[in-house]
Symmetry: C2
Subunit: 423 residues, 2 copies
């Protein structure tokens, strides 16, 4: 489905695209032979058309072009004490559409990347169940499964900036999100096999990495839409994404999507693990901390133009970005060119899927004036992505988690884009 | 949307899954300390939980697990004279869902893989237009674009078998198909910029490879849904897929999706290029050849079980497969266990997109008897995927192209699967 943007505005800018676009020129397209072209080939035939291409080098597993070497995940060295506890960021500014290619999906690990032999992999399901069970990977693959496109966002996404770090570019401010098609067994199916005892309310999910990363998950969510997933975009999960099996908890913060999933224990109360007490709680101004703030609320980010891309040219341009909501579907995305004073609806491209990213576009004719670019997501619960100021009024500044405030870019007369804060 | 399969049959097999699944056993899940476990760790804690994982090795561009080395594109050496004219096949049996990861997308090239510097890339648009235009890659990226999931199938997919080659496994018989999310500029937008002259009916698309691969495309199709695409699953096209720009011709045979797209010439009749006269025509029994058989008709293939996978275990199993139609949406997929005598509707997982693959599943309880497994796709025009015999009656056996006949697998009592032909 396409949500129409401002059609009048689009129509008006069509002419200015041709007028303004650099490099679109009338070509000498007649194909006339030239004197220095003895074989009478059309002029300007490039080298790659005059010689055989590489046939031998076709790879069994393909790789990007050598000209795309800058399109990579990046890390921030000062962010963590050692590389065994680190995070890499998706280059959102270099991507389009809604699917993140597997090689560029951000990842966060707490004790390095566990290297698990799938033949030795086991998933234990125990606790308040009638029949404790242990599943091999082949067991899991025999179950009925589903394929779902979901976004995955770290609770700390945009958190560095919240704390005042000067980061320029959405790869760093918003790059802890990705969106892929997961293949997995509904967790409900495994629980049904084991038989959940009366009185059970929570599940503890534990990873097989050295952190034994673990979180408490309400049973209601577990049987609603959680997946025990083993594929991403069709192929097996990458090692850094929990190979061979991870939990998928649609719309909820990434740290509960336990990777290298080893154990699921059913109980009647949460476990209050380290990851939900000393970590991943949100300390408020009054000294109290919000706990179990699972849901990632509606958020959006303009991915182009970007401080990491070439300056914008004048004339017709398309603002491109991503939006998502952990509470359901994105209903609308608005774009402002004046720092949030005026908003217009952006167009949403492609199907709008539950708890998945959508791609939005906003077409505009840029005369070269300074602008303050913003986007805001509205989800189908009616929730509107807030300003950072509104968030700070409610939550204070202690916690770096769940910063879904509106991002502002200053577009300068030269076409450069800078991450700024508006008052 | 999920199309329900046979619910009674599904319910009946639920119990037999637990009874029949190998390797699902009651686990010693109490976590008791053992005498040989001085640190009092839970039993069976694997090595990867006892030591820090790899942190340094986090790759800027991620790769599959070392345990997935068998999940690769494969070639057939006798198929082409030199590797500069070759094809690699997608390992369909190792994938699930509908998105093919970029590294595993089949590719066919006629003169090797052109290596194009994006800075020197140009697309020429000329012929019967008001303003001949030349676009740089940056020019194309400034245009409004769309993101669409489409299947891409080679006209010769399943052609080796049609000619009698003994190929066992859907990677070889059906692996010249993939399905990704493309990002591209609607070709109509570029034609609008150039201004198509009255009387124009066709467009010639030409590649920048040494084959200068070219095809004639009806203008009506060009302005309907064709894309000048530069991304696949979010990132730039891979070299072997036409980096930096290829034509996307939804639902039509792959050879017209010109890679390394260099030139679009508008005219009033087809060019009758080599690729649509001596190649890619379908010679009938009566000596006449069908020309311009663009559309890839409805087709399906069971991807698991497969001759290339481990033998099937008795008990509850899920048959998994892909279906697609070049004429629109897949309306239904049927599965037969008895070589086509009886058919039952399979479930379709996920959204059913226009001219894209769908994933189908069929759950059944296998007692170990010999079966003849088949699938057939029905599209929203009412077209039903035919048997091979029906195709041969109409077309004879001269042409290897457009073989969309129903595939049969023999499931043997030991669980092995073999590609067979039924009478």
């Amino acid at each position: 489905m396409t949500v129409p943007g401002d059609r009048d505005q689009k129509k008006a800018s069509r002419r200015s695209f041709l007028a303004g676009a650099a490099g679109i020129a009338v070509a000498g397209a007649s194909g006339k032979a030239r004197a220095d072209n003895p074989k009478n080939q059309p002029p300007n035939v490039p080298e790659w058309t005059r010689s055989l291409g590489d046939g031998v080098g076709v790879r069994a597993y393909g790789q990007p072009s050598k000209y795309e070497k800058k399109v990579i995940r990046r890390t921030v060295e000062w962010l963590t004490a050692t590389p065994e506890s680190s995070v890499s960021f998706t280059p959102l500014h270099e991507l389009d559409g809604i699917i993140t290619p597997n090689g560029l999906c951000f990842e966060r690990h707490h004790s390095g990347i566990a290297e698990i032999d799938p033949a030795d992999y086991r998933l234990m399901l125990h606790g308040m169940v009638d029949r404790p069970l242990s599943f091999t990977l082949d067991d899991l693959k025999r179950f009925p499964r589903v394929n779902k496109v979901y976004f995955l966002e770290c609770a700390a996404n945009s958190g560095m900036e919240w704390r005042g770090a000067q980061l320029n570019g959405c790869q760093y401010t918003h790059g802890m999100v990705h969106c892929v098609q997961y293949t997995g067994v509904p967790l409900k199916a495994l629980l049904d096999e084991a038989g959940v005892k009366s009185g059970a309310q929570w599940i503890m999910a534990e990873g097989a990495d050295a952190a034994a990363m673990n979180r408490s998950l309400p049973l209601a969510k577990a049987v609603d839409d959680c997946l025990v997933a083993y594929r991403s975009n069709g192929e097996m999960l990458r090692p850094e994404q929990g190979y061979p099996v991870r939990l998928v908890v649609p719309g909820w913060e990434g740290n509960i999507w336990i990777k290298w999933l080893r154990r699921l224990k059913v109980g009647d109360q949460p476990w209050h693990t380290r990851e939900e007490t000393s970590k991943y709680t949100d300390l408020l101004e009054n000294g109290k901390a919000r706990q179990f703030t699972f849901v990632m609320d509606a958020k959006s980010i303009i991915t182009a133009p970007s401080p990491q891309l070439a300056p914008l040219n004048k004339g017709f341009n398309v603002i491109s970005g991503l939006a998502w909501s952990g509470r359901g579907k994105v209903a609308r995305v608005d774009v402002s060119l004046d720092g949030g004073r005026n908003w217009r609806a952006a167009g949403i491209d492609g199907p709008i899927l539950d708890k998945a990213c959508v791609r939005f576009y906003y077409e505009f004719d840029w005369k070269g004036e300074a602008l303050l670019l913003q986007s805001r997501a509205i989800d189908d619960t009616g929730y509107v992505q807030p300003t950072k100021q509104a968030l700070r009024k409610i939550r204070g500044v202690n916690s770096i988690y769940h910063n879904n405030g509106i991002q502002t870019y200053e577009l300068k007369p030269g076409g450069e884009v800078e991450n700024v804060e508006v008052g």
